[in-house]
Amino acid sequence: MSQYINPSDLTTILPAIVLTVWACALLVADLFIPHERKGWTAVLAALGLAASLGITLTQVGGTSTGFKGMVTLDGFSTFLNAMLLVSGLFGVALAYGYVRRMGLERGEYYTLLLFSVVGMMLMVQASDLIVVFIALELLSIPLYVLAALNARQIESEEAGLKYFLLGSFSTGFLVYGIALIFGATGSTSYSGIMTAASTGTSGLLLTIGAALLLVGFGFKVAVVPFHMWTPDVYQGAPTSVTAFMASGAKIAGFAALLRVFALAFPTLTADLTPIFAALAALTMIVGNLIAVSQTNIKRLLAYSSIAHAGYILMAFVPYGNPQVMPVSVAAGLFYLAAYAVTNFGAWGVVIALEKQGGKGLEVSDYAGLFWKNRPLALAMTVFMLSLIGFPPTIGMVGKFYLFRAVIDGGFIWLAIVGVVTSLISAYYYLRVVVNMFMQEGEPQTGSEFWLNFTWGLTALATVILSFVPQPLFAWASSAVLRLF
């Protein structure tokens, strides 16, 4: 081909490209799928994700860069891409029956979801701030729409608009941050920034830029105090969207965050580490504290996801410390994966109990669930335990790694905040369990194959992975090792 593009560029981001093409094709194909058969769109979308996933898995172990170093393919990206694509699949699986039940079955749904996934994947692979920015927008804009998809419900629209306004607001900071960084270093590529930074020109400008960047990402992953959209949007958006948003956006956000700060700003640790630590602590405390007073399961899970953003952020706190860095980041990734699995399961259960018009979303609606539908209640118990960090669940293993990393990094106080807040969290997660087992009630549960499949599978994974976490953790750590 030409001097501008060569095959290696394309192979580097092949999964993304495939998915993009597929998405566009799907957009067209959808026009020919009759309205009562929108299920086909879902299947097709799933196929696309699967194909992309397949390609990603072939890339495991490979490393390359493309487009003059604007995107990178490495263990890190393959690991996270795989996670993202799986999340996408789960997103489709959850949506499949749900959108029909809620009467918002539209072809665009899946197309948008695919585009969002593409954005996330690019974000993971980006090694240039321009790509980061584009990817961020590519993942956000479809989510704005998806959040507002349920036009019949005011909450949904409201969620969409809030998400949109605040999202673009935070984007503003992000962009301005990039601008300052560019000003300070004359480059937007991570490597360029790092070389310039290490020669040390106008540190303050760079630092401020980095901080503004942090704001942008912090918003996406819902770190206090940039978290406030989360509960409203999670509650207002269609549950299947929420589920996808909760893990997908987090994964992508943290991935980019990590890559940027690890590769571009290793020189700024002195300034940024305290900020990271403070944000992490604040997030854990606020998230868990407010969660205690929630009665709506969606809001409860929303706050729990805020809290978990705090836990994951904890792993990046010691990112300046080269000995600890690999382990701690690996722990972070592992926890991210653990959270994603658990999270999808939990939202799956929520969907199983949700009724038309936002009914069946109160914690009290779960009363007596165990005696009506044992598998479902057991699965939910597993997820709750996992979110607390209680054996025998992957959440416990994740927390174990995480706290170890933090202590290793010398932030014992942070670890203490972590354990104390997880103690507080036990209280509200247990409320769900108490309702399911120890209160009398007559909950109706929806049951669709793909839905049951999702929560069933995730529940099993949550338990089994806690006994054999080795492979996953090995993969995570190898991913990190390739990162440097």
Binding site: P326, V327, A330, W371, L385, F390, P391, P392, M396, F400, F403, R404, I407, D408, I412, A415, I416, V419, V420, S422, L423, A426, Y427, L430, V434, F437, M438, P469, Q470, F473, A474, S477
Partner: protein
């Protein structure tokens, strides 16, 4: 997968088979469910005896299990390591021994949701076994936390009126302690580059200042479980609300997990700290002994009375353990067993009468010995063993503990033991108070009341006698000829003490 064939692995996880079996039995076949659970636990008990037969009492170190690498990546050395030694063998046997008895006690007591009850109960057994056998801190922590879950459900679903409150309190209270231990465990894992307890003990070399904090962190977890005064507040609630079988296991085994933790981890891992802290532990133990005895005397609810007596009894265990000499520690271990037997028996018996009268108010009883002679006699024996009458098991434990504590170098003052010995008097006071008010004196109002509801108060039936009989046998055996029990632990304890930097 070779580790699966390990005797200890079989012993620990065998109940899971029972759980599996139960899962396939329809919920309305109640008796089948009961039998399945009972048989499972009996087989488990058999396995524990098999383990005992292979256990070499003369060997002080860990036996019958070797470490298998479990998670070894990025500086992690987590092993799957089950092992048993003189410190744990008796507790393992106790666990395997009490579980079938508790299940037998639920035969008529638990009529609703039998299937789930039995499943949770078997899961609980897995957890308890694991706690006593795990030799890797990570593994231990998993089992330790896991035991909470089934117990939480047992209390919360089958408990009394305030069951949910009690269950949540139990869960949170215990977890509050464990999280601090978790941090300490992680710190150790980083410092020693391993989670294997024996390796850690071998490496040692933790600076004194740090030892102190780690000791405290572990203590937080174990002291709550024991429960040591003043962290006992969850106990009366849990006991009063829990179903009989739950109380039996709670008092019989779960509390021992705390004391066992001190023995297995605090003392060998942080010897300096243990020696330094011994007087303080002794102080709290002594307060617990006196306080528990006094408080239980003032209870009007018999189950609460026994619950508080546990605070007193486990005070003795703590006192003996931190005497840090052979008499004290062996006495403490034996006392763990004794408390399991006698308090277990008391809870069983109370449960049996409660099944008929549905009240635990002491004052409505009275003169029962005349109406239910067998019940009265067995209750008398259990009470006497609980108040430490020579010739019964309780005395052997308390005597050796007090003897050890009296001359302990670590504690350094005979006063603690001296004052605690007064606890023996107070034990007589509350136990006799209970026995008199329930079994002696004029016939209580409850008798008429029960008659009023049609069926007269009946004496124990064969199943019930069969349930408590094994306990009685051991109560006498340990009281009269404790040698075999001491022999099991002596070498291990000897080494443990020898390794301590006593003043």
């Amino acid at each position: 997968m070779e580790f699966l064939s390990q005797p200890l692995t079989l012993l620990t996880f065998f109940p899971l088979l029972g759980v599996l079996a139960l899962a396939f039995i329809p919920g309305e076949r109640k008796n089948l469910l009961r039998w399945t659970a009972l048989v499972t636990t009996l087989v488990t008990f058999g396995l524990s005896l098999w383990v005992l037969s292979m256990f070499d009492a003369s060997n002080p170190s860990l036996q019958l299990g070797k470490p298998y690498d479990w998670i070894t990546v990025a500086g992690w050395n987590i092993q799957y390591h089950l092992g048993v030694d003189g410190l744990s063998i008796l507790l393992v046997l106790l666990t395997a021994f009490l579980t079938p008895i508790s299940i037998l006690s639920t035969w008529t007591a638990v009529e609703e949701r039998v299937k789930d009850f039995m499943m949770f109960f078997l899961l609980l057994e897995v957890g308890m076994m694991g706690v006593f056998l795990a030799q890797d801190l990570f593994l231990f922590y998993i089992f330790w936390e896991f035991t909470l879950v089934p117990m939480y459900f047992l209390i919360g679903i089958w408990g009394g009126p305030r069951r949910i409150y009690a269950a949540v309190k139990f869960f949170l209270y215990t977890m509050a302690g464990s999280i601090l231990m978790l941090l300490a465990i992680l710190w150790l894992g980083i410092y020693q580059q391993t989670f294997s307890v024996p390796e850690m003990i071998a490496k040692g070399g933790i600076p004194n200042g740090v030892q102190f904090w780690l000791f405290l962190a572990f203590t937080a977890a174990f002291a709550i479980k024991v429960p040591m005064w003043p962290l006992h507040s969850w106990l009366p609630d849990a006991h009063v609300e829990a179903p009989t079988a739950g109380s039996v296991i709670l008092a019989g085994v779960l509390l021992k997990m705390g004391t066992y933790g001190f023995l297995r981890f605090n003392i060998p891992l942080f010897p300096q700290a243990a020696v330094q802290m011994a007087p303080w532990i002794a102080l709290f133990a002594t307060i617990g002994i006196i306080y528990g005895a006094a408080v239980s005397y003032a209870q009007s609810d018999v189950k609460k009375l026994v619950a508080y007596s546990s605070v007193s009894h486990l005070g003795f265990v703590m006192l003996g353990m931190f005497a840090l000499n052979e008499q004290g520690i062996e006495g403490a271990i034996l006392q763990m067993i004794n408390h399991g037997l006698s308090t277990g028996a008391l809870f069983l018996l109370i449960g049996m009468i409660y099944e008929q009268t549905h009240t635990r108010e002491i004052k409505v009883y009275g003169g029962l010995w005349k109406i239910t002679p067998i019940f009265g006699t067995i209750m008398l024996i259990a009470s006497l063993s609980s108040m430490g009458l020579p010739g019964l098991n309780g005395f052997v434990g308390e005597f050796t503990i007090l003897l050890g504590a009296f001359g302990s170098q670590a504690i350094g003052s005979p006063w603690f033991a001296g004052i605690s010995a007064a606890g023996v008097i107070m034990a007589a006071v509350y136990i006799l108070y209970m026995f008199q008010k329930m079994f002696l004196g004029p016939t209580g109002s409850i008798v008429e009341e029960v008659k009023h509801h049609g069926h007269a108060l009946r004496d124990l039936n064969w199943r019930e006698i069969l349930t408590v009989l094994p306990l009685l046998i051991f109560i006498f055996w340990i009281g009269l000829y404790p040698k075999p029990f001491f022999d099991l632990m002596t070498p291990t304890v000897h080494n443990l003490v020898a390794a301590l930097p006593l003043p």
